[in-house]
Symmetry: D2
Subunit: 351 residues, 4 copies
């Protein structure tokens, strides 16, 4: 085996949930040299220790954002809030450093929609035009050449992978899309909070941000890009009392009566050869346990020709395919590394 060409990778926001997952993945990647891991909260502390790894794994210490800004690298990964990404990305790009941003800062092309959902000034038109939405299964080529990749949100990843092939093939009515999804609590990020304590959440289940979640326009935009027509998307996220995983149950009206096998065939054609898509035999077979700890998206569809309704169930690990794993998949594409590098030794969580 010929040695892989290496690249220097910097990480901002390395102590949140997505950031630690990303750091762990990059430390195990044969081509990535981790140039720095920046975290304001952890400056001077051992990265290995924070990750729960033997200290022999890496001698890296967390650095502050200021120090990190001065360090050279080939690609910077931003596991930061949108507000920080809006500042850091242009700086890095100006110095010729390519960027993968895990926040929502560069995902929405409509500036008004961005301002409404993020309560932040939208990025410049120039930056916006540079940003490539990083869902490899839909736009692998554009990602490879991108200077700025907007890594998709966790819910959008699961929802779009389930619905885009059906929309693109014209099988479903874009005005009838409902996405009902549930996520483990790491989706809310890492923070001190009574609300997310084990004592408060054990045994609970509830919806949140009903009819006003910022991932709604992101799903709609990606589906429009995939299918050519602006869809109407109703999206309801729920909070599961588990650490990780997203299960997405999506509904749409069929354009004409189709059996489950026909819908499954459409998905099979769209995803032939995709290394991170697992097509299940039936929606009942899709579950968090099959995907947590991996970069896979497992999915399946069923239809009721009588009522004309189709149901697609898709599952991902919100921190892997929904964040850090997909970011690494994008990095692999950008640097010409095999797309699955560093993403295949993840182990299943059974039991």
């Amino acid at each position: 085996m010929r040695a892989m060409q290496t690249a220097r990778i910097g990480i901002f926001g390395g102590s949140g949930y997505a950031g630690t997952e990303l750091t762990r993945l990059l430390l195990g990647h044969p081509g990535a040299q981790v140039a720095f891991v920046a975290s304001e909260r952890k400056v001077g502390q051992s990265v290995a220790r924070e990750l729960g790894l033997p200290t022999s794994t890496t001698g890296l210490m967390f650095v502050g954002f200021e120090a990190a800004r001065a360090m050279a690298c080939d690609v910077v990964m931003l596991a930061t809030p949108a507000e920080a990404s809006l500042q850091l990305a242009p700086e890095c790009l100006a110095r010729g450093t390519r960027v993968v941003d895990l926040s929502g800062a560069f995902r929405l092309s409509d500036a008004a929609s961005f301002r409404k959902h993020y309560q932040l000034d939208s990025p410049s038109t120039e930056l916006q035009s540079q940003a490539v939405y990083g869902l490899p299964e839909l736009s692998r080529e554009r990602i490879a050449g991108a200077r700025l990749v907007a890594n998709p949100g966790c819910y959008p990843t699961a929802a779009i992978l389930g619905l885009a092939p059906l929309l693109r093939a014209g099988l479903i009515d874009p005005s009838t899309i409902i996405v009902d999804a549930a996520s483990g609590v790491t989706g809310a990020g890492r923070k001190a909070s009574e609300e997310y304590s084990l004592a408060e959440l054990t045994g609970d289940f509830k919806a949140y941000k009903v009819l006003r979640h910022q991932h709604t326009p992101e799903i709609a935009q990606a589906l429009e890009n995939a299918g050519g027509r602006a869809p109407r998307v109703t999206f309801t996220p729920h909070l599961l009392p588990v650490p990780r995983g997203i299960l997405c149950t999506s509904y749409a009206r069929l354009m004409q009566p189709l059996a489950s096998a026909d819908v499954a065939a459409c998905l099979a054609r769209a995803y032939a050869g995709e290394p991170f898509i697992d097509l299940a035999e039936h929606p009942d077979r899709v579950g968090l346990r099959q995907v947590v700890g991996t970069n896979q998206c497992q999915l399946a569809a069923a239809s009721d020709p009588e009522s004309g309704q189709v149901v697609v169930v898709s599952a991902i690990d919100n921190l892997v395919k929904g964040a850090a794993g997909q970011a690494l998949q994008n990095l692999n594409l950008m640097l010409g590394w095999p797309e699955t590098t560093g993403l295949t030794t993840l182990r299943r969580f059974t039991p």
Copy 2:
């Protein structure tokens, strides 16, 4: 306080989850005299011990079904599988004993639909015509006079309470109804199974019986009775890794643009004075923790006038309002007892 008139109540199927919950509730009810608790699996064992209660609570021992059949009582509660209820109910009625059946045996008025979903011979037309669907908030008067009450399914209870007032008021299009729900594992009943072990279910979440759950026609039938037009219902149940509780997120298209406040007002009018309905300010406020251990149904709705979509979130304890508690509510109505008797001292589960 005048002493409540008492009645003798017999319970078949007293060792399953709904049956133990029902037995516990009846033992604490000031009017109910528990005549017998029948369970083939537990014959001769202490009922108190099975319920985890001090043995001073009751000296009752489980009896077999044969022995129980010979015992006189005023009302029999059947916490048995549909197959057993189909046999027991006519026997009891023939002897003049009124019946509350917690199974699905007498819920569906369409015989073909029953045979398809239960793989059992449908009950006689005479029995069918006697059976009253026991959702007190929708048909309190008919229940009071019923000889045979078909206690609603757990998912239907949550779904129907959320949607019926909107349908009845003509606010939503009955052809666009989607019910996406999740239940704790006691919904699957009490049984030895690898599938429901803690080792297999921890951290998991998945859909099941997609597009073929037997509660789908039950929901549709009750909504048709409430709203006058046959609705088209798509229903997807999911399995939560928690013991108890159902959260139901229901979707429909509005007949005309309405603000959330208008939808909420419709629910408020429908449920004014209802002791077991808690209207929350917003769907984000509804959750399992507010209802588990109680007979309450908590619910709220929000609408998006732009997209014309309404979302209703409703929550119940699947073993209380979704089974044993509602059965007792029905019993109270049948015997002229105050409807909330024995159902108000249940405590909230916090934390």
Copy 3:
């Protein structure tokens, strides 16, 4: 039934876990009139809403500590940190108000030990001499006449109830006592914290404060008072990934070989007629699920005559018998109410 004489009860610290549990219990108590519920964090908010109860239950609003100090009542319950109790208790006593303190402020009679474990100035000798350690099963009479009751810690309650009868009967060697216990996370109190988040604690189990927990001298002192000789106690608490409950596995060397039945007989004699002690047939039968949600302490012992070791397993709900329930039991004794008033309708948590 003759009406129970009522008394006005004030609660300080009503928004923590013990405080909300206590408030809930007092609101359901036929003799208690809740004069005020004080919480600095929740001033002006609805008490019913905080407890997850229908607002019809009580119109009380949380008041601040200053306002509460001016309100008259017969007994004040302090669900406050030791630091606050040290200030509030003398004030209340000076005004002739009796006090039940749920903190550790008045439990230790040794001032040096108190200062070491609580890092606070010890209370005055006079206060100290007034305080009665409120474990009703061991000192019912003294509690009835007390002006200041030091409500026991959660771990000590479970440990002492298991070991005191064996020590008092001279069956075990006081120099060989080991208490290994595990508690649900509400034992740590209610607070915003990353450490107690569901994401961090799910699937975890660990010891904490090894060889330095402040409940160690409390257990030793109560056992000395019960048995007459100063014991040597090693105590290790562990954190369980569940909301509620303490299981305590205690070890001691037998003074002479004894069969399990002999040890069980000693416990049975000690606790004959005790309403809140459930003796199980064997330590394997004791578990959190039997006690969570109740004021019971379930316990059982087994011995190995060959090795001369005895093992006692005891279980309580840390927020009920380990805090609020026991405080109410003490209040009942102080006010001459039947000891079980307001504590018997708690329901078991099954499943």
Copy 4:
């Protein structure tokens, strides 16, 4: 890197929890060629599918025990009940195949003790004398040359690794040992059972097999072999409501007053250079989350010079270091492969 010499490995009992974990590990091992995976329950089914792996991982199908017996291989791994291992091991050895047995069949050298705890006829004296107790940190050399390795039990692994160095160094009194441990539910094996259902176990915690668990003599025997004197061991296992992991809190009396640092130094000397031992700074730092999913044993000790008591807390993943991982570690030693092969890419479970 020179290619590793390969060996053919057969697995009996490949569908239980230890067996699936072992199969997964062997499929990722660069030197192991999996000759067969035998499971009576799963004959003809896909091994990859059972493990939740992409079917491209391996085309192996489960075979029956009869078929497996006829297949040649270099080493057979028995993840079978003791009863089956007692039959299979001598057969394999007779054909010249080396054996690693994960059951308790060959762990106890005292025949009477074996019969008492396993209710089975003890193996022949010849087999018994061949069997090497496979705890690599204590007897690496003997394992390398063994024909039959008795892979240690899960609780004994955690307990012995914590206590053996202290006994061997003469720091603790062997007559005072208490082992208090808690395990996730996979420790009970894979089976259909109401007792281990999520509905029954959620929120529970309890001791089991108090004073009669079969791992007690195993711990005592290994400690005697390590320390030279027969210890007196009291062992109490508890059931945690989590899938995986064992935490062991062990107690002993010091032979003479020692500070925590002295005890820690003893452990550090004993385990210098050990790849699978993680010494933590303090017992409070040891927890399941640090070890679940890895082959590590994390441990730390603290002592109270005043009371003369030492506390050792040790944690492992019961299915990895407590079963399949340790079996692979033993296999590596037997075949001259680097001891950590196939065991280092396991990932931590955070969060």
